[in-house]
C-alpha cells in the first residue's frame, strides 16, 4: 500500500517536472524580436548550439538531483522515533569517483567552448565589412569607414538611424563609448560586446539573410538605459549599394550633414 503511494507520488512529481519543462521549452521556439534561440546569423547559431550542449546535460543532472532528493526523503523517512541507522562515515572510492568524473565531463565541454571562442575572436578577413559603433547616453551611432562621402569623411548615421549593413558577409564592429560603459547587443545575430570609453573593442557578426532585428544596450548606463535601443537592417549587397548611393546623394544636397555627435536627448531612440 505504502509502496503504491510512493510510486504514485514519484510519477506525479515526474509528470509535473516534465510538464513544466515542456512549458518552458515552448518559450524557446517563439519568433520574438530578441529571442536568443531564434538565431538569424552564424554567431548566434553557434552560441545557441554551444548553450544547448551545456544546457541539456545540466537539465539532466537537475532532474536526477531533484528526483533523487524526493526519492531519498520518501524512502529513508524515520518511521520510529528510536530508529538509528548504521553510521556510515564515507566511501573514499565513491567520493573520488564523483570528484573526478564531473571534472572530466566538464573538461570535455571546454573543447567546443574553446574552439568557438577562438573562432569568434578572429581578426577581420579581406571581405569583411567594417562598422564603427559608438554608444552615448542613450543612443547608438554608426560610422561606415568603407563608405566615403564627397567630403572625404566616412558616412555617419544620424541619431535614431538604423544600423545598415550587407547580409551574408562578416561585419566587423569596432565598439566604443563617449561617456559611460554600454553594451552593444543584437540578440538574434549574436552575443554582446561592451562599449568602454577610450577602448576600441572588436568583434564580428553575420546575418544569414536580409532582414531587420532589434537590439538594445545591455550594460546599465544611467537613467534611460532601458530606452537605449537600436534597429539593425541587413540588406542584400545590391540593396545595400543602392542605400549607400542614396545616403551619399543626401549628403550632397543636405547642408547639415549628419556626423557631429548630438547631445543626448532624454527620450532616447525608439
Amino acid at each position: 500500500m505504502r509502496i503504491n503511494r510512493s510510486t504514485l507520488s514519484r510519477a506525479v512529481y515526474a509528470a509535473l517536472l516534465l510538464g513544466l519543462l515542456a512549458l518552458l521549452l515552448s518559450g524557446c521556439d517563439t519568433d520574438t524580436p530578441q529571442n536568443t534561440f531564434a538565431a538569424d546569423g552564424e554567431v548566434a547559431r553557434d552560441q545557441r548550439d554551444l548553450f544547448y550542449l551545456a544546457m541539456w546535460p545540466a537539465i539532466g543532472v537537475m532532474i536526477l538531483v531533484e528526483l533523487g532528493l524526493v526519492v531519498i526523503l520518501l524512502r529513508f523517512r524515520r518511521r520510529r522515533d528510536d530508529e538509528v541507522p548504521a553510521q556510515v562515515h564515507g566511501n573514499t572510492r565513491l567520493e573520488l569517483a564523483w570528484t573526478i568524473a564531473p571534472a572530466l565531463l566538464l573538461l570535455v565541454l571546454a573543447v567546443p567552448m574553446m574552439s568557438l571562442l577562438f573562432k569568434l575572436g578572429e581578426e577581420p578577413k579581406d571581405d569583411a565589412f567594417i562598422v564603427n559603433v559608438t554608444g552615448v547616453q542613450w543612443q547608438w551611432l554608426f560610422e561606415y569607414p568603407e563608405v566615403q562621402g564627397p567630403d572625404g569623411q566616412p558616412l555617419k548615421s544620424a541619431p535614431g538611424d538604423p544600423l545598415v549593413f550587407p547580409a551574408g558577409r562578416r561585419i566587423h564592429f569596432n565598439v566604443t563609448s563617449l561617456d559611460v560603459i554600454h553594451s552593444f547587443w543584437i540578440p538574434r545575430l549574436g552575443g554582446k560586446l561592451d562599449a568602454v570609453p577610450t577602448r576600441h573593442n572588436r568583434f564580428w557578426l553575420k546575418a544569414d539573410e536580409p532582414g531587420a532585428w532589434s537590439g538594445q544596450c545591455a550594460e546599465f548606463c544611467g537613467k534611460d538605459h532601458a530606452l537605449m535601443k537600436l534597429v539593425a537592417e541587413a540588406l542584400s549587397q545590391q540593396d545595400f549599394d543602392a542605400w549607400v548611393d542614396e545616403k551619399l546623394a543626401g549628403i550632397k544636397t543636405s547642408s547639415d550633414a549628419a556626423g557631429a555627435i548630438p547631445a543626448a536627448h532624454p527620450d532616447g531612440v525608439n
Partner: protein
C-alpha cells in the same frame, strides 16, 4: 583624559564603573554594552532580518514596476535607485550579517569556548555594521522630499561601474553615501573576520583538533579568511573612487588616462570571493542540519572540508567571468572560462556528499530539514546555470540578461537564504528554550519554495528571450510579459511566506513549546548545554574525544557497528550553577562609542569637513577608553 586612567579612581572612572554595573541586568543598557557573543548574535540576526524586510520591500517595488510592459508605477530615477539599494542591501546588510549572526551564536558553543577571542571587538563589529547600514539607507533622504517620491540613494547599481559613478554622470550624494556606507561595513566585516579566525584557531576546547571541528566552524574559518583578504580589495577600489569624486582625482577618468575597467577588475576580484563569503556559511549550516535529521554522520567529512577550502582558494581565480564582454581578449576569456568550469567541481562534490548523507538515514521530516534539502535542490539549479555561464561564447548572449538574475538568485536566495531560514528554525530552541511552531514552519517552507521558483525560474526564460537586466521598462511583443507577470506573482507569494515566518517568530518567542536542551537528537557540543544557554556557556570546558563528540556521549556501537543508545543518556550540562566563580568579560560602552565615529566622519567628508574632527574624536575616545578599561572587572 589622563585622569580616567589615573592611579586613584576619579569621579569619571567611578561613573564608568557604575554605568558598567548598570549594564549587567537585563535592560536596555545591558544590550548597548553587551560583549556576550550570544547577545551580539541576536542583535546581528534581528538587525539583518529588519534589513531583509527592507530589501524585500524594494524587491516588491521592482516587481510591481515590471508586472506589465510600459508601467509607470515608478519613474526611471526611482527604479534605478531602488534596484541599486536592493542589491546592496541584500548582499551587505542581509546575507553577510545573517551569516555573522550564526558565527556569533554558534562558533564559541561549537568549539567549547566561553566567548570569542576578542569580545569587545565583536561588539565593535556589530555597532559598526549597524552604523554602516543606517548610513547607507540614510541616503534615501538626500534627494529632496522623500514623501513626494524624490529619492536620494545611489543610482549606479550595486556594482557601481565606472564611469557612471563619476560626479559627471551621477551627481547628488547617493554614490558618496554608497562609498562610505560600504567602507564602514567593510570595517565591521574585517573586525569580525579577524576575530573568528583567532577564535577558531586559539579557543578550541582540549581535544578539539581541526578535524574534529563541526563543518559549520570550518566554513566559518574559510569565510573569515576570504573576508580578511577580499574586503581590502574593495576598500582600495572605494578609496580610489572617493578620491575621484571628492578630490577630482583621475583613477577611473578616461579623459585623463584613467581606466574604467580598473574598477571592474577590483570590484570583481572582491566580488567573486564575496559570493563564496555569502554561500559557504550556508553550506556549513546545511552540513549541520542534514546529519542531525538523518541521524547519520556527514558523509565524507574530509571531502566536504577540503572542497570548501578548495572553493576558497579557487574563488580568487575566476573574477574575469564577470567581464567576458569587456573586451579583455580571447586568451584571457579562455583561461577564466576553464577556471570557472573547474570551480563547479568542488561544489558538485558537496552536493553529492549531502545526498549521500541522507541516503540510508532515518530522516525526520521537519522544518529545518526541509529548508536544508530545499537549499540542496535550489542551489543545484543555480550551480548548473553557473556551468552554462562558463561556456564563454554562449555567455556573450546571457551576460547582463535576466538569465544571470535567475542564476544568482538560485544561489543566493535558493541557496543562502533557504539555509539561513533552516538555521533559524534549527537553533532557535538553543537560545530560547522553545521550539518554533512546526505547522507554521512547514507553511513557511512550502510557500517559500513555491514563491521562490515562481519568481526566479521565469527569469531564465525572459533572459534567454533577450531581456536585459536593470531596465525599468520594456515594450510589448518581446515575449517577456507572461514571464514577468508570473515572477511578480511569485514575489508576493514570497512576501506571504516571510510574513508567516515573522508571525511564527513572534508566537514562538511568546509562547513556544518547551524544547529541552537537545530536541533534535543532535551531534555537536552546543546541544550539550541547557537551553537557553547560560551566559558563561560551559560550566566546565569540555574535553573532546571525537568528531560529533556529543553524539558519541549518547550512542555507542555494537560489534556490527550499529549504534546503541547509552541508557543513562548524555550527561547534559544542566545542573544548577550560578556561574559565580566564572569570570566573563565585562560589558563595555566603548565599542559603541568608537563605532559611532565612522558615520560622523563620513557625513563630514560628504557635507562639511568640520564634522570630520568630531567623528575622529568619537572614534579615538572609544578606542582609548577601550584600551584602558580592564577587560574583566576585578572582583569586588
Amino acid at each position: 583624559m589622563a585622569a580616567v586612567i589615573g592611579q586613584r579612581r576619579s569621579g569619571l572612572s567611578e561613573a564608568l564603573r557604575s554605568a558598567r554595573e548598570a549594564a549587567t541586568g537585563n535592560n536596555i543598557w545591558s544590550w548597548l554594552a553587551t560583549v556576550d557573543h550570544k547577545r551580539i548574535g541576536v542583535l546581528y540576526g534581528f538587525t539583518a532580518f529588519f534589513f531583509f524586510l527592507l530589501g524585500g520591500i524594494e524587491a516588491l517595488l521592482i516587481r510591481i514596476q515590471l508586472i506589465t510592459p510600459e508601467s509607470e508605477f515608478l519613474n526611471p530615477d526611482q527604479y534605478n535607485r531602488i534596484f541599486t539599494m536592493h542589491g546592496t542591501t541584500m548582499v551587505f546588510l542581509v546575507v553577510m550579517p545573517l551569516s555573522a549572526a550564526f558565527f556569533n551564536l554558534l562558533v564559541p558553543l561549537m568549539i567549547g569556548a566561553r566567548d570569542v577571542a576578542f569580545p569587545r571587538l565583536n561588539a565593535f563589529s556589530y555597532w559598526t555594521f549597524l552604523a554602516g547600514g543606517i548610513f547607507l539607507n540614510a541616503s534615501f533622504f538626500t534627494g529632496g522630499n522623500i514623501f513626494q517620491g524624490e529619492l536620494g540613494a545611489p543610482d549606479t547599481g550595486w556594482f557601481g561601474y565606472s564611469t557612471l559613478t563619476s560626479t559627471k554622470f551621477s551627481d547628488g550624494h547617493g554614490v558618496d553615501f554608497w562609498i562610505f556606507g560600504l567602507q564602514i561595513l567593510g570595517i565591521a566585516s574585517l573586525a569580525g573576520g579577524f576575530n573568528f579566525i583567532v577564535t577558531i584557531l586559539n579557543m578550541r576546547a582540549p581535544g578539539m583538533s581541526l578535524f574534529r571541528m563541526p563543518l559549520f566552524v570550518w566554513m566559518t574559518l574559510v569565510t573569515s579568511f576570504l573576508i580578511v583578504f577580499a574586503m581590502p580589495v574593495i576598500a582600495v577600489a572605494l578609496f580610489e573612487l572617493m578620491f575621484d569624486r571628492l578630490f577630482d582625482a583621475n583613477f577611473f577618468n578616461p579623459a585623463a588616462g584613467g581606466n574604467p575597467l580598473l574598477w571592474q577588475h577590483m570590484f570583481s576580484l572582491f566580488g567573486h570571493p564575496e559570493v563564496y563569503i555569502l554561500i559557504l556559511p550556508a553550506m556549513g549550516i546545511v552540513s549541520e542540519i542534514l546529519p542531525t535529521f538523518a541521524r547519520k554522520p556527514l558523509f565524507g567529512y574530509p571531502f566536504v572540508v577540503f572542497s570548501g577550502v578548495a572553493i576558497g582558494f579557487m574563488s580568487w581565480g575566476v573574477w574575469v567571468h564577470h567581464m567576458y564582454t569587456t573586451g579583455l581578449g580571447t586568451v584571457a576569456n579562455a583561461a577564466f572560462g576553464v577556471s570557472t568550469i573547474m570551480i563547479g567541481v568542488p561544489t558538485g562534490v558537496k552536493i553529492f556528499n549531502w545526498m549521500a548523507t541522507l541516503w540510508g538515514g532515518a530522516i525526520k521530516i521537519s522544518t529545518p530539514l526541509l529548508f536544508a534539502v530545499g537549499f540542496v535542490g535550489m542551489f543545484t539549479i543555480g550551480g548548473l546555470s553557473g556551468i552554462t555561464h562558463s561556456m564563454v561564447p554562449s555567455d556573450y548572449q546571457q551576460q547582463d540578461t535576466y538569465y544571470v538574475v535567475a542564476h544568482f538568485h538560485y544561489v543566493l536566495f535558493g541557496g543562502a537564504i533557504f539555509a539561513l531560514f533552516g538555521g533559524a528554525y534549527y537553533w532557535f530552541p538553543k537560545f530560547t528554550g522553545k521550539l518554533m511552531n512546526e505547522k507554521l514552519g512547514q507553511l513557511n517552507f512550502w510557500t517559500l519554495l513555491l514563491g521562490f521558483n515562481l519568481t526566479f525560474f521565469p527569469m531564465h526564460m525572459s533572459g534567454l528571450l533577450g531581456m536585459p537586466r536593470r531596465i525599468y521598462t520594456y515594450s510589448e511583443g518581446q515575449g517577456w510579459d507572461t514571464w514577468n507577470l508570473i515572477a511578480t506573482i511569485g514575489a508576493f507569494v514570497i512576501a506571504f511566506s516571510v510574513s508567516v515566518f515573522l508571525v511564527n517568530l513572534v508566537l514562538s518567542i511568546m509562547r513556544g513549546e518547551k524544547s529541552g536542551s537537545d530536541p533534535w537528537d543532535a551531534r555537536t557540543l552546543e546541544w550539550s548545554l541547557p537551553s537557553p544557554v547560560p551566559h558563561y556557556n560551559f560550566k566546565e570546558i569540555p574535553h573532546v574525544h571525537s568528531l560529533d563528540d556529543f553524539w558519541h556521549r549518547k550512542y555507542t556501537e555494537d560489534e556490527a557497528g550499529r549504534p546503541i543508545p547509552i541508557v543513562a543518556g548524555a550527561a547534559v550540562d544542566d545542573e544548577e550553577h550560578d556561574g559565580h566563580d566564572i569570570h566573563m568579560p565585562s560589558p563595555s560602552y566603548f565599542p559603541l562609542i568608537a563605532s559611532s565615529g565612522f558615520p560622523v566622519i563620513a557625513t563630514g567628508l560628504i557635507y562639511h569637513t568640520a564634522l570630520v574632527p568630531v567623528g575622529v574624536a568619537l572614534l579615538l575616545v572609544g578606542l582609548y577608553g577601550w584600551a584602558m578599561e580592564p577587560a574583566t572587572e576585578e572582583s569586588a
